[in-house]
């Protein structure tokens, strides 16, 4: 599986710039080919068996093909996707069959698939992405090769990620028209790498947030539960990435999904070792000559936080403090009014989203428990019915037992309806949670913008300082006729530095502008998507409530009908009793 020849295509850690222009070379294309050919037999068989199985883009719910239980079996997943909303046919017409028993409060797997069977606009968006299938399945436990210091930390899980691309988007892009399926094994650490790489490469984009590392859960939860939770979270995450118009088409993403064997993306060096790196360079930067003190233009496009350049961190920190406290107007400020307004709006939105999603959770819980209690009351009545029937001596007891039974049945039915409703409610209100998650991405995109701006500001004030120094030196040297050699030399050096810094500034400004542009586009995109999502959420939520209530009414129609019957029964009984009363008075 390790395939060294594939790794060679990617192993040299490409810089961001390189990554961007990373055209898939012939070598890597062949790697993809070999990857294709080594796809597990069952999957390739199913795709080869019907190569024209390019499904109509409108009808397919690629998301619902999560097919959590039945890993990688396209047939079943397709079938289940047809059962999905928006028709709700199964919910409406056969609400009481055993199939729905596990509806509301099922296990993690059930919830997962329920959550993923999304409603129309989302799937429409998914239909625009290059992928018609992304599934994470078949978690497998592996032994860590390197000895870990943490006891019990020696094992990890890998997941089989199966993807199928839409026709015409095949890996090598050479116009092959049949959908191609890939299967790779990845571990969670690889996903972390992917998300880090994406964060570096796509500054200013709203990159869907990666599932948490959840160290605690992995200890607390049952192994199976945890793995299942992570599996579905990963699937969800990958789908979100795929749906993103830019990220979904990115090479990093493609490589992650398609390159066989070990993930060829370079792992970003962790912060500690970067700091060390920076610390080594720092003295040189402080005392060293010429070039060492210069800012490398290419690096300013990366945020300074990484720790590679401690001096830059210090400088930018100083700049930030100056901005904050100094009252000195920085040379370049965020002047985009529209953006600032938008940012404020997003903050507001985040707050409302968070409170709405909290309330949604409370609501769902309340709905859940009313359903449960309804069920319990039904059960209590069933027991009572049984008891009364067994012990009945008088006919009035039998009548009562029959009435009780009716109520019991109705209550149990109502309880099931509540559970059904709740499952649907959870599904639709999940949109809120999802968008709340996206707000994280928005925030980090905004902070990328801020840090890019900070870089620009720092460079500009650097330049200003350098210019004044040059001016001073020039003034000083001009006093001495013929010039002071050492001063002239110094001026030359400073001019050189200024030139490099100007370059760097140019780069930084361009990067900043790029991020700004990305921000703007992404905000528009998100606004539109959120509108669609919210609309479909509201619709789904309300339709379910209506439909559910109508089933409720159906049940209650029975109930009303029966309660009319009951009323009759009661009326006759009442007459009997009143006769009795009259007779004795």
């Amino acid at each position: 599986m390790m395939g060294p020849e594939i790794a060679s295509g990617f192993d040299s850690p490409p810089e961001r710039e390189e990554m961007e222009s990373l055209a898939l070379s012939d070598a890597s294309a062949s790697a993809y080919r070999s990857a294709m050919s080594s796809i597990p037999a069952s999957i390739s068989a199913s795709s080869d068996g019907d190569p024209l199985l390019a499904p109509p883009p409108t009808l397919h719910f690629p998301i619902s093909s999560s097919a959590s239980g039945h890993g990688g079996n396209p047939a079943t997943s397709t079938a289940s996707s047809f059962l999905d909303p928006p028709s709700y046919a199964d919910v409406v017409f056969s609400p009481f069959d055993s199939h729905n028993g596990h509806g509301g409060c099922g296990s993690g797997a059930d919830n997962g698939s329920l959550l993923r069977s999304d409603s129309s606009p989302r799937s429409a968006r998914a239909a625009k992405s290059d992928y018609i299938k992304i599934s994470v399945s078949n978690p497998h436990k592996e032994q860590e090769t390197a000895n870990s210091l943490v006891p019990g930390g020696g094992t990890y899980f890998t997941y089989l990620i199966t993807t199928r691309m839409r026709a015409g988007f095949a890996a090598n892009g050479d116009g092959e028209s049949e959908p191609v399926e890939f299967g790779v094994r990845r571990r969670f650490r690889d996903v972390v790498t992917l998300s880090d790489r994406l964060a570096e490469a796509y500054r200013g984009f709203f990159i869907p947030p990666r599932p948490d590392k959840s160290v605690v859960e992995s200890q607390v939860l049952q192994k199976n539960e945890f793995v299942e939770q992570r599996r579905s979270a990963l699937e969800k995450y990958l789908w979100r990435l795929a749906e993103h118009p830019v990220i979904g088409k990115s090479d990093e993403f493609r490589v992650f999904l398609q390159a066989k064997g070990k993930l060829p993306l370079p792992t970003t060096t962790d912060v500690a070792s970067r700091m060390l790196d920076g610390a080594v360079r720092l003295p040189k930067q402080l005392f060293g000559e010429g070039a060492a003190a210069q800012v490398v233009p290419q690096e300013v496009v990366q945020p300074a936080k990484g720790g590679r350049d401690l001096l830059r961190i210090f400088k930018e920190l100083k700049q930030a403090v100056t901005n904050e406290w100094g009252g000195v107007k920085p040379l370049l400020v965020e002047e985009d009014k529209e953006f600032l307004e938008k940012k404020e709006k997003m903050q507001d939105l985040e707050q409302q989203l968070s409170s709405a999603s909290q309330q949604a959770e409370v609501l769902v819980n309340a709905q859940q428990s009313i359903g449960e209690t309804m069920g319990e009351i039904g059960l209590a009545f069933i027991k009572l019915t049984k008891f009364e029937t067994e012990e009945a001596v008088y006919s009035s007891q039998r009548i009562r037992a029959a009435d009780t039974k009716n109520v019991a049945t109705a209550a149990v039915k109502a309880s099931r309806l509540y559970r059904e409703l709740n499952a649907q409610t959870v599904k639709h209100l999940d949109t809120l949670h999802e968008h709340l998650g996206l707000m994280l991405a928005v925030n980090s995109a905004f902070s990328e913008r801020t840090s890019a701006l900070l870089t620009v500001q720092t460079l500009m004030s650097d330049l200003a300082t350098l210019n004044t120094r040059v001016d001073k030196l020039e003034a000083a040297s001009s006093k001495i006729f013929g010039g002071d050699r050492s001063r002239l030399h110094k001026i030359e050096e400073l001019r050189e530095t200024i030139r490099v810094t100007e370059d760097a500034k140019g780069c930084a400004i361009r990067e900043y502008e790029r991020i700004k542009e990305n921000n703007r586009n992404e905000l528009n995109r998100l606004d539109q998507e959120r509108k669609d999502d919210f609309l479909s959420m509201l619709k789904g939520f309300v339709i379910n409530q209506v439909i559910d209530s109508s089933i409720h009414i159906l049940a209650h129609l029975e109930q009303v009908a029966y309660s009319e019957k009951l009323a009759n029964v009661w009326a006759t009984v009442a007459e009997d009793t009143s006769n009795y009363v009259r007779g004795n008075s």
């Binding site: 209690t373 309804m374 009351i377 209530s549 009414i553 209650h556 009303v560 009661w570 009984v573």
Partner: protein
Amino acid sequence: MSALGGGGGALRNASTALAISSTESFAGTPSCHTKRVRRPPGSFYWLHAVTPAPPLDTTTLKQLVFVSDYAESMIPPEIGPQKSSSQSPRSPSGAPFLSISVTDPVKLGNGVQAYISYRVITKTNLPEFQGPEKIVIRRYSDFVWLHDKLADKYKGIFIPPLPEKSAVEKFRFSAEFIEMRRQALDIFVNRIASHPELKQSEDLKTFLEEDEEAMERIRSFETGIFKKPADLLQMFKDVQTKVTDVVLGKEKPVEETDPEYEKLKHYIFGLEDHLTETQKQAVRLVKRHRELGQSLSEFGKAIKLLGACEGDSLGKVFAELGSKSELLSIKLQKEAHNLLMNFEEPLKDYVRCVQSIKDSFSHRANAFRLHCELTETTKLKEINLEKLNLMRSDKTREAEIEYRELKAESEEATRRFETIIKRMNEEIVRFQEQKTAEMGLAFHLFAKGQAKLANDIADAWRNVLTKIEAYSLSSGHD
């Protein structure tokens, strides 16, 4: 003329209430009553009307106005007040009727001594009663007095149960608790008034007709001199027999072994368990309705705010959803109240009735024991007497008198025991029929309430749905 008398009573009551209300912050209550009283003997209406009504919590007001169908129904229609008003009291030719209503709970007194007094209105054409209408003021302990008197005198009859003595202090004066208790007391008195035997009781008449001072006197007289010592004596005796039984190693006190009776006992105990469980769930269901209502309203608020962030017409859809959620929340609260009054309370009453049956079990057991003991002793005396007769002793005469007395006593005990059996056999039939009717009604109201709630929910959401569809059409065209 009776209206005048009634007016006098009301005046007294209202002025007391007024006095109290001005010193206490409970002033809302009397004003609630005016809204709730449905059978107005018009003359004393204005008295309440002059009471200034600083608004009580509006929701409690609503709840109080929300008249329980259940309570209404417990009054057999032909003796119900509605009919009685159409029947002229001056024409005694009409069918005999006796209808009682317990109304106007008013908080009186302060602190620990605070209590609720009720107005008990009796309307009747029965000749035994003083007049066609009588209004008295009674408090909870008066009802207890009536209950205990009846329980003492009519052993074997399932005395209608009273609502629980005390609730948690915090809820004791909550509008909901007061209303529930009022309803339960109303049912209690009317059950007595419609019971073939109990309604002829002198105690009931005392309870309904004596003025407050006389009532007080009677109660203190009885509790002070008779009731307690008698009770204590009985308790002492019970303990004594038990002790001697244990000490002398006698067999357990004789128990009835009638299989029918055994079956009944088994049934009642089982029933109690089942009903307690069901009632517990009903309480929970009420709570769940409230919680769902609460969370729906919170959700509605949050959705509204979220909609405000969206602005434009989508924001309006959100706002629509939000306000409908809040509306439904109110409906849920109403249904919770309906459930409490018309479903949970009847179930609780069912449990109480079963407990009252259990009381009569112990009466029956006591009567049976007495009957057995006396029969036994009588037999011994008889043998003894025969011996004496043979011996022609001087004591014969004495013994004969003693024997006769004992025999009479034994026969009395036997008769009492048999009465209890006879009564219980009748009562159990009554009980079953009554409960079938009452539970039928409770089920009916439960189903009706739930159906109405579901309808309301469906209507509200359907309304929102049309708005959403309109929006998605318009945005689709853009």
